[in-house]
Homo-oligomer: 451 residues x 2
């Protein structure tokens, strides 16, 4: 995994971590102003910090109700943080790969490979990358506003209708999960149109900039990169499998009260399979779901979306590579192949290590929260594990723990959202003291028994 | 991971899988006899199969109470299956590595490395290996009988005292978890002596034959293999960390009724940290424990014991290698080192793949069980996950689901115990159609984004 050990990664990782901390600090400051809350009643500092971290890390877990607690100013600060967090992160992802290809210690063939495989030829500086990211986001978000306004303006009038259209469009595309309805999308459970538009925005944001660029350039090149192909296939598979599994576990959402139409139940199930990756918007109370569905949501939250998108989790590519590796192993093949390409051993090792490190973070956090939080009657351990996975995957779904978190619990969840957003590897790189020289002694190799 | 792809692995894996199936079939036949049950009332076939699989795979999950349901003949059949399962598996582990070193396609240096690193020079044929395994087991088990008899004979009289001493000694050393007391070790909660003897037997069996041989030959060689060192350090660390964490989560077992002494509480906590790896004997009802403790037990069950021992799980070496790999990554090092040796990339990849495959098996099984089983009031998802981890790790602990399992549930748990016992890799090898020729086309390498 030599390309990951280059020095510039340090600098970029530290810049990114620092950038996110700066936005959270600024947001905390703005949300502390009396004008940020309704009636100017103020908010405890830990809750302000939590909200700022949740918005910047585009998670959407809330300790106070966004619609009831924050003023329009406060709500717009939250919107701003989510937008900056989302676009900033997507820009970072592109810059990272641009840096890799421009790095002077890297051989020409590797440079060409990265350039070729990610279609980044015309994006050589920060400015042009940001421009492209902003353009793509603007198209999606403005389109979303227009489509949502058709429903929301007749419903809420011009002023409020436009406001909620903008808010919901941005929060959906950014996979940020905050809402100004007071109860997420639950009031729109029977509004099939709004749910479908939301799904398109969530998936659009969750596919990520690099894949979109690849898809948009397809008419020129007539090929997709391995990264895009794997992303699209994994996303599609998870979409179909998750949807079908949730249809089974929920019995096509028999739990919905009233008598919704068959098609409305299906669309709500579809939404349920999309929201854990990693939108965090709900049309149903998550805690009302079947144990099997909650388990499925936990898996989907852990996997998350695409690298370089607004989504969190271990990412679809990681999951895809590991599934292909497992299949290759089962079929007795040494090479892990996909679409007439094979994955490098370093690539596979990195994916496996990521999953292992993520598991450690989730385990330790869960263990601490079992000591600091109280599980209410009728819930088990999943009450806490779900919250941890939601924070780490920057999803924003909850079985109800968030508003009841202790101060230590809030700090743990803030840390999880942060690590989940900047990524485990980036977090590690920003912490590590790089050894620029190779250690002089290299020990002899020896194997231990595995399995 | 070329050494794992050699043809003889196929043969040995198929032999092992076949061997276990044969023992289960024979046990099922014997337990079907009227004389196997008390009063000859007979047992449903699925429950007989479950018991035979649980005994052969030395798990200890029971759908019927061993003491109340089975006659002495039935109990002895179960004891026999556990002993054959445990010794058979340990013998297999040694044969596997003997085969590796004798394999003619393997270079001399690799042969010497395996020979050297596992101290197997004098164990060249099945007979001598089995002799060594039986000798070691006999010393431990007879020692256990003697130590337990001191307590049990005065308590139960000669006849019954000797019977329960033998039964408990064998089941503890084999990490098999069956008991003829009717309620595991719960009646002996305040008998510090019996608990300590049981801990020694469990740890002795769980360390495994290869480590013991290495330790016993230390006076001649004055060095331990990397495998033994890593096993001992990981086992020790998990022991200490698990014990301390359980002291915290349980508040030194404040839940024990009556007024046990401080030392008795500590010994019971110690036992609690030992039993999930992978003995399955309890001194307390598992369901009475704190949520944090249950989570800790689940982690310890997942890790399990040492390769080639009576224990299940992903194994201490796997866990140790992955922890060292994570630490190396955090410290920015390319080599994963331990005790002046470094691990090969193939070794690390194999460990990571094992954990990933284990996670898939556990996830799929949990998902199916959420559909077929009913979670009682007051429990959450952990009611099912705990059972799955217990079966896959061949531990034998339960939050109470086992006797209530549906027929499909029982079949799933049987399959999990089987895969857990023979190992995921062995299961895969026995299923796979090996490609003896290398595929002609090797695709070009390309990377995808991870994390
Ligand atoms: K989110
Ligand atoms: K066991």
């Amino acid at each position: 995994m030599s390309i990951w050990h280059l020095k510039f990664l340090d600098t970029l990782s530290k810049k990114m971590v620092f950038g996110f901390i700066l936005i959270i600090a600024l947001g905390t400051l703005l949300l502390s102003l009396p004008v940020a809350t309704r009636g100017g009643q103020g908010t405890p500092l830990i809750d302000i910090l939590f909200t700022a971290a949740s918005a910047t890390c585009i998670t959407g877990l809330t300790v106070v109700n966004t619609a009831a607690h924050w003023s329009v100013f406060g709500q717009l600060v939250i919107l701003g943080m989510a937008e900056v967090g989302a676009l900033g992160y997507m820009t970072f992802a592109v810059l990272l790969f641009n840096l890799i290809r421009r790095h002077r210690h890297m051989g020409l063939s590797t440079q060409l490979m990265v350039k070729e495989s990610l279609n980044l030829e015309n994006l050589s500086d920060t400015k042009s990358v940001m421009k492209y990211v902003v353009q793509l986001s603007a198209i999606f978000q403005l389109g979303g506003v227009a489509l949502l306004a058709v429903d929301f303006i007749p419903r809420f009038g011009w002023r409020r209708g436009l406001y909620v259209s903008v808010y919901h469009s941005v929060m959906s595309f950014c996979n940020a999960g905050f809402d100004v309805f007071g109860n997420s999308l639950m009031a729109f459970r029977d509004d099939t149109y709004v749910i479908l538009v939301t799904i398109v925005l969530i998936v659009g944001g969750g596919l990520g900039f690099l894949v979109w660029r690849d898809v948009l350039l397809y008419h020129e090149r007539h090929r997709l990169s391995l990264n895009s192909k794997l992303t699209l296939v994994t996303t599609g598979t998870l979409f179909v499998v998750g949807f079908l599994a949730l249809l089974v576990t929920e019995g096509n959402l028999a739990c919905i009260p009233g008598n919704p139409t068959w098609i409305n139940r299906v669309v709500n199930t579809l939404f349920l399979s999309v929201t854990p990756r990693t939108a965090g918007i709900v049309t149903l109370p998550t805690s009302s779901l079947h144990a099997g569905s909650i388990f499925l949501l936990m898996i989907l939250m852990f996997v998350g979306g695409t690298p370089g998108s607004t989504a969190g989790g271990i990412k679809t590519t990681t999951f895809g590579v590991l599934m292909l590796q497992s299949i290759a192993q089962i079929r007795g093949k040494d090479d892990v192949e996909f679409s007439h390409r094979r994955f490098s051993q370093a690539n596979i090792s990195r994916a496996l290590l990521l999953v292992f490190l993520a598991s450690i973070v989730i385990t330790v956090a869960t263990l601490i929260l079992t000591q600091t939080e109280k599980i209410p009657q009728g819930y088990g351990l999943e009450y806490i594990v779900f919250e941890v996975l939601s924070a780490f995957g920057t999803v924003g779904l909850s079985l109800g723990l968030t508003p009841h978190l202790s101060v230590i619990g809030k700090l743990i969840i803030i840390l999880l959202m942060f690590i989940g957003r900047v990524g485990i590897f980036t977090s590690l790189y920003s912490l590590s003291k790089r050894q620029t020289k190779v250690s002089r002694i290299r020990y002899p190799e020896e194997n231990v028994l595995i399995g």
